[in-house]
């Protein structure tokens, strides 16, 4: 009899150890990656990163200014285009579409788009915008990012608006407010933290995306704020620099990677702290 108890206890202990090991494995990789980024990237974090352009190879100087600015421009435009569209679409799904069959289809399609490989989005924007325009452009890159932003914002908007208790809406309607006002003044205010979370998560997602920019905005070695021509951006610049054995370029690549990671992780953490109280249980 005792042997059965012993073997059960043993297998339980083994699994417990394995689970602890799995957790250490997971957290360990994160620490390893962050450590590598910090060690390699911090060394190169001089002020000139933010004041000078990307250099040609073999030069000891140079920074990432044009890439950072280009990324900021494209990310802001992408989020600026994608957020209203996503917001309104999510609103329709949550507020108006509760009993429509179309809602289910749209929600399903949105989930597919949410997890679609970003390189497919790049190919789509290439065919739809770059080819007709005749060349690579910053606006094509921004649109590719917007297409990635939309499903994220739709999903979070719908989830957050669904959490708003119905009696708030009913009270507002009872006072005579038209539907549009009920939604914008009551539902949005109630779900405000969650909606902002959604936008922050979407921004964090596109800030690091490389594949959609590879054949839409390409990259540029110089100062580029012209939306109709190639625009420098941090991820593709890092991509180009990494392959090159030039030590200055490698250092810039690591520092750029550190910048992106810090931005993305901070946005994620801020979003999660904001959305913590509102998480659906």
């Amino acid at each position: 009899m005792n042997s059965i108890y012993a073997s059960r206890r043993r297998s339980d202990k083994i699994i417990k150890v394995l689970c602890y090991a799995a957790a250490i494995f997971g957290v360990g990789w994160l620490c390893l990656i962050l450590y590598t980024l910090l060690v390699n990237g911090l060394v190169g974090l001089h002020p000139r990163i933010f004041t000078q352009m990307t250099p040609p190879p073999g030069v000891q100087d140079g920074g990432l200014l044009n890439a950072i600015v280009g990324s900021l421009i494209m990310t802001s435009i992408g989020v600026a285009i994608g957020t209203p569209l996503g917001l309104f679409a999510g609103t329709w799904l949550a507020e108006y579409g509760r009993y429509s069959k179309l809602t289910g289809v749209i929600r399903f399609v949105n989930d597919i788009l949410l997890s679609a490989p970003s390189i497919i989005i790049g190919l789509f924007v290439y065919g739809a915008i770059v080819v007709p325009m005749g060349g690579f452009s910053g606006i094509a890159g921004s649109i590719a990012l917007a297409v990635i932003v939309i499903p994220v914002v739709v999903r979070t908007t719908e989830d957050m608006l669904n959490l708003v208790p119905n009696h708030l809406r009913e009270a507002a309607s009872a006072l005579g407010m038209p539907r549009a006002y009920v939604i914008t003044k009551v539902s949005y205010s109630a779900a405000r933290a969650g909606l902002i979370t959604g936008v922050l998560l979407a921004t964090a997602r596109v800030a690091g995306e490389t594949a959609p920019l590879l054949f839409t905005a390409l990259s540029n070695q110089f100062w580029s704020v012209n939306l109709t021509s190639t625009m420098a951006n941090l991820p593709v610049t890092i991509n180009n620099f990494v392959n090159n054995p030039d030590p200055n370029w490698k250092q810039l690549a690591w520092t750029g990677a550190l910048l992106i990671t810090v931005t993305v992780l901070s946005l994620n953490i801020i979003a999660r702290t904001l959305g913590a109280e509102r998480k659906p249980k």
């Binding site: 206890r9 339980d12 699994i15 417990k16 689970c19 602890y20 799995a22 957790a23 494995f25 997971g26 957290v27 990789w29 994160l30 990656i33 590598t36 390699n40 569209l85 917001l87 309104f88 679409a89 329709w92 507020e95 108006y96 749209i106 399903f108 399609v109 949105n110 989930d111 597919i112 997890s115 679609a116 490989p117 390189i119 190919l123 789509f124 065919g127 939309i150 499903p151 038209p178 539907r179 549009a180 006002y181 939604i183 914008t184 690091g208 490389t210 594949a211 390409l218 991820p235 991509n239 990494v242 690549a253 690591w254 990677a257 992106i260 990671t261 993305v264 953490i269 999660r272 249980k281």
Partner: protein
């Protein structure tokens, strides 16, 4: 409005309210808002439709030239005149092999972490570790690619792979799978990086579905004297089976489409070799490396590869969502 009721004098002094005009303004506002939101929602459908249409249009020349043989040809010779010989077998093989190996590593580890977080972890540590795992999901894939290229690849090539190669040198089938030379860039390295990337997805979804198990079931099992592992194996996992599988499929969908992390570390070779330590390519890595300089039939073939990837991920994600939706309904969401 209550202030007007309390001060009737002021209320009488106000000009007469044009009720009809206000109501029609409201109506117009309502209608506009309804249509703006509805069109935005329909726009989501249009985007999907646009993607499918543009992929098919771009891939049409390749479909017409190669037909079904495209799926089974290994040779990739874009510079042959007059017609390049192109085949998707190499990328498809690489995609499937790396994704399967990544899943094989990530599923047990991901489930292990989920079990750890729900059953074993001390309360104060629970949130930080959960956040840490989710941060893994947030790291952009180019960072994984860089890290894999500079850190993991050399480590595996110098220490891990030679050990495996010599360990299995005389075992009949395994020595082909694990054949040297050990390389920084190989299918195995890519699969390992991929597994670290998809780990958080499995953990996050498993954690969520584990939380839907009614506590009374677990308490009953503990009350009868089950160990933690027995509770997990006999109560939690069977109850959440569908959800866990849904999460796994979601992670698979992500693994299939991953581009930047894989491109740096997979070696870009279209040849299929039996060894896991040989270079290979996946569909997304092939597109990412060759698209910028391709044209004509070559470019069309790359878009066709993209279409294949989209169809593949579409099917996997559909299956995942269907399973997860069933679970959400059961949990009363």
């Amino acid at each position: 409005m209550t202030d007007m009721a309390l001060e009737p004098a002021r209320a009488a002094a106000e000009p007469a309210f044009d009720r009809a005009r206000a109501l029609s303004a409201f109506k117009l506002g309502d209608k506009t808002f309804f249509w703006v939101t509805r069109l935005s929602a329909l726009f989501v459908l249009i985007i999907l439709g646009g993607i499918i249409v543009s992929l098919i249009i771009g891939a049409w020349p390749a479909i017409r030239t190669y037909g079904f043989d495209f799926l089974f040809t290994q040779r990739w010779a874009p510079s042959l005149q007059p017609t390049p010989i192109l085949g998707a077998l190499g990328p498809i093989y690489g995609t499937i092999v790396t994704s399967l190996i990544a899943m094989a590593i990530a599923i047990p580890v991901g489930l292990g972490i989920a079990i750890f977080l729900t059953e074993l972890c001390p309360m104060p540590l629970r949130q930080p570790i959960a956040v840490a795992i989710e941060l893994l999901a947030g790291i952009p894939s180019i960072i994984y690619g860089m890290w894999g290229f500079f850190v993991l690849g050399p480590f595996l090539a110098d220490h891990f792979e030679p050990a495996i190669v010599s360990a299995f040198e005389n075992v009949p089938i395994l020595n082909t799978i694990f054949q040297g030379p050990a390389s920084n860039l190989s299918l195995f390295n890519a699969a390992l990086v991929l597994s670290i990337m998809i780990l958080p997805f499995i953990t996050a979804i498993s954690r969520d579905v584990f939380a839907t198990v009614p506590p009374v079931l677990k308490e009953a099992a503990y009350g009868v004297g089950c160990t933690t592992w027995e509770v997990v194996r006999n109560v939690v996992l069977p109850y959440t089976r569908v959800g866990v599988i849904g999460g796994v499929m979601l992670a698979l969908g992500r693994a299939l489409g991953e581009t930047m992390a894989v491109t740096f570390i997979i070696g870009n070779s279209f040849k299929i070799s039996g060894s896991l330590f040989a270079p290979g390519t996946t569909i997304s890595a092939a597109i990412a490396s060759e698209f910028a300089e391709s044209d004509g039939l070559h470019q069309s073939a790359l878009i066709l590869l993209g279409l294949l990837l989209f169809v593949l991920t579409f099917c996997v994600l559909t299956a995942a969502r269907l399973m997860l939706r069933r679970l959400e309904r059961k949990a009363g969401a």
